[in-house]
């Protein structure tokens, strides 16, 4: 266990790196990294639900879709300033998640996975439904047409989006940390470890599970809203089942039950597809095989195999490896006379 001052130190260093990075990278990279910030927010929510409370969700893409559509509809139809729609999208999605938590209460393990998976498939096709097409834009989607940098800030559009996403990510990171470090986090972990024991210690399953769903969906909604704002556009295909699976992969690879791991998870899901073909080329060329690794599908194979490796080797993701590494290091230092 790292002590609290060390945690603060690490967080401060991380925050400083995030704050200064746009000075050194191109506009394009800043835009890419803004997306990493969005993934961080979505993964934080999923981490609270799956990593801490042990409730699997294969439907977080659906929560992001609800948030994104909230922002899109509020800005295009009602002319509300994009920034103010972010908390609204979060709260509305949080409410949806809280309500979904009630049927989810009766579902354990595999059944919950089924229900959330079906949610991820059903929500995008609901957005295509003819009767609500005038709101959602149907299959064609909605173009947001947002103003660039607000308040006359001296920032380029990409840098503004970068600071917006990472600013909120930092804020929500601290909020999630405050949430899981105390009584609530302990209750959630108790539910994850053993529901029966948790109930007998006076923890209310309905209250904490629906709460975890609500919080998790709130994060998903904020992430979805930011997603809509950065790409200026939403349509049903923006949120395929693959996105939900990608998010769960990010949490598992980052390490279940670790908030710091989500930053790694977010970088992983954003950058792995871009570098997957290089990763594949190296072993394949050693074997003397000539296979086109830039084809679509190749990145999915790589991240699927990495996910499989993390699961089969029983490690707890990047955070777990890091913790083991530092523990081994401190142990060997301590043993030295």
């Amino acid at each position: 266990m790292r002590s609290t001052p060390v945690r603060f130190g690490l967080f401060a260093v991380g925050a400083a790196v995030v704050a200064l990075l746009p000075l050194f990278v191109s506009e394009f990279r800043a835009f890419e990294l803004a997306r990493v910030g969005i993934y961080v927010i979505a993964l934080l929510g999923l981490s609270v639900l799956t990593g801490y409370a042990g409730q699997i969700s294969l439907g977080h893409g659906a929560f992001m879709a609800v948030g994104a559509y909230t922002t899109a509809i509020l800005t295009t139809r009602y002319g509300i300033r994009d920034l103010w729609t972010i908390p609204l999208a979060g709260l509305l999605t949080g409410l949806v998640g809280f309500l979904f938590g009630f049927p989810a209460l009766r579902l354990v393990g595999a059944y919950l996975a089924l229900a959330t998976f079906a949610l991820a498939v059903a929500v995008p096709s609901l957005a295509k439904y003819g009767r609500i097409e005038e709101y959602t834009g149907g299959g064609g989607g909605l173009l947001l047409n947002l103003p660039a940098t607000p308040f006359g800030l001296p920032l380029s559009a990409s840098d503004w989006l970068y600071y917006l996403c990472w600013g909120l990510a930092g804020l929500l990171f601290v909020a999630a940390w405050l949430l899981v470090r105390g009584r609530i986090g302990r209750a959630l972990r108790a539910i994850r470890e053993n529901e029966l024991a948790a109930v007998s210690s006076g923890i209310s399953l309905p209250a904490f599970k629906t709460f975890a769903f609500g919080v998790s969906a709130f994060y998903g909604g904020v992430a979805g809203s930011l997603y809509a704002i950065t790409i200026n556009y939403v349509n049903p295909d923006t949120f395929p089942v693959g996105l939900s699976i990608l998010l769960l992969t990010g949490v598992v690879v980052g390490g279940l039950g670790s908030l710091a791991g989500v930053v790694f998870g977010a970088l992983f899901i954003q950058y792995l597809p871009l570098y997957a073909s290089d990763l594949l080329d190296w072993p394949l060329s050693r074997l003397g095989l000539k296979i086109d690794t830039s084809a679509p599908g190749a990145p999915a194979v790589v991240y699927g195999l990495i996910l499989l490796a993390v699961l089969l080797l029983g490690s707890s993701g990047a955070a777990g490896s890091l913790a083991r590494g530092t523990r081994a290091l401190t142990n060997s230092l301590a043993r030295r006379p």
Binding site: A110, Y129, G130, L248, P296, G297, L307, L311
Partner: protein, 293 residues
């Protein structure tokens, strides 16, 4: 009348596809208590194998069909041995994640090898057939027949052979079966093999209707989940009945109920899934599981 008959037959054809995939899910769930999210992708992948045998290697349809089923059977056993067995005793979350990883890998491999473009998949039953003055798609009638034959063969296997008996015994009690000399691990692997065969059948039967591409089975998987849960996730008969009921029911809903447009078919399946899980978790034919908390 004409339209009603046609819609019922189309519904039964889709229902046969859902029933095969639902039965595959039930087979695996009965023996290993795993819900296999990769079941649909296994069917999609093997359907691509069949397509490749027909178009690139000059196989006739039925030769390709039989070869594909053999490949699927071997592939299913291999997957169980290599990736499922190591996590057999792990938490349900880990096992589900492993099947999701399989989903991702198979889907990626299919678009890597065969590209993601949409293709025609041949049907062995082309054209139209007229029964009592109602013209029906020959493929739909054929798909129902093929699925029923496969289901009957599978039923006969479980009912009349020693191996089938051993597999049923493992589903009920792995420990006593082991004591009686049944090789439990191999029975579980065989279960995966049969499930892979069933998903290959469902893939090859649905491909001429929805066209072949790597995402072909994703909505079929949702219907199959809904069908399996509707019939009772531990009941093979329930999965088959659930599949046909869902196929016909959704087809009739979207034909005759005004506000149910094709976009609403998946949300309807989702509603069935959630509704059954909430109000009758054991489904139509399943046993109620009592759990005290």
């Amino acid at each position: 009348m004409q339209q009603l008959a046609q819609q019922i037959v189309s519904g039964l054809a889709l229902g046969a596809v859902y029933a095969s995939l639902a039965l595959a899910i039930v087979l695996i769930h009965r023996t290993t208590h795993v819900i296999n999210f990769a079941q649909g992708e296994m069917g999609m992948f093997t359907t691509f194998v069949a397509w490749s045998l027909i178009t690139n290697h000059g196989f006739s349809y039925w030769a390709a069909f039989a070869t594909t089923l053999a490949i699927a059977f071997a592939g299913g056993i291999l997957l169980e041995r290599v990736v499922i067995r190591p996590v057999e005793s792990a938490s349900p979350l880990a096992v589900i994640m492993v099947t999701i990883a399989l989903f991702v890998v198979l889907n990626g491999l299919a678009s890597w090898i065969w590209s993601a473009e949409t293709r025609n998949f041949p049907s062995p039953f082309p054209g139209v057939v007229t029964v009592w003055g109602v013209s029906l798609s020959r493929h739909e009638v054929g798909a129902i027949a093929v699925s029923l034959v496969v289901l009957a063969l599978l039923w006969a296997f479980f009912r009349f052979t020693r191996l089938g008996l051993a597999m049923r015994a493992v589903a009920i009690g792995p420990e006593p079966s082991r004591l009686l000399g049944v090789r439990v691990g191999w029975m579980l692997a065989l279960g995966w093999g049969f499930a892979a065969v069933l998903s290959a059948v469902s893939g090859m039967m649905v491909a001429p209707i929805v066209f072949l591409d790597p995402t072909m089975m994703q909505s079929v998987l949702i219907y199959a989940f809904a069908a399996a849960v509707l019939g009772g996730i531990d009941s093979p008969l329930g999965a088959v009945v659930g599949g046909f009921a869902l196929g016909v029911g959704i087809n009739l809903l979207s034909t005759y109920v005004d506000f149910v447009t094709p976009e609403l078919e998946l949300p309807v399946a989702f509603a069935v899934l959630i509704g059954v899980l909430l109000f009758r978790p054991s489904g139509l034919f399943g046993r109620a599981v009592v759990r005290r908390v």
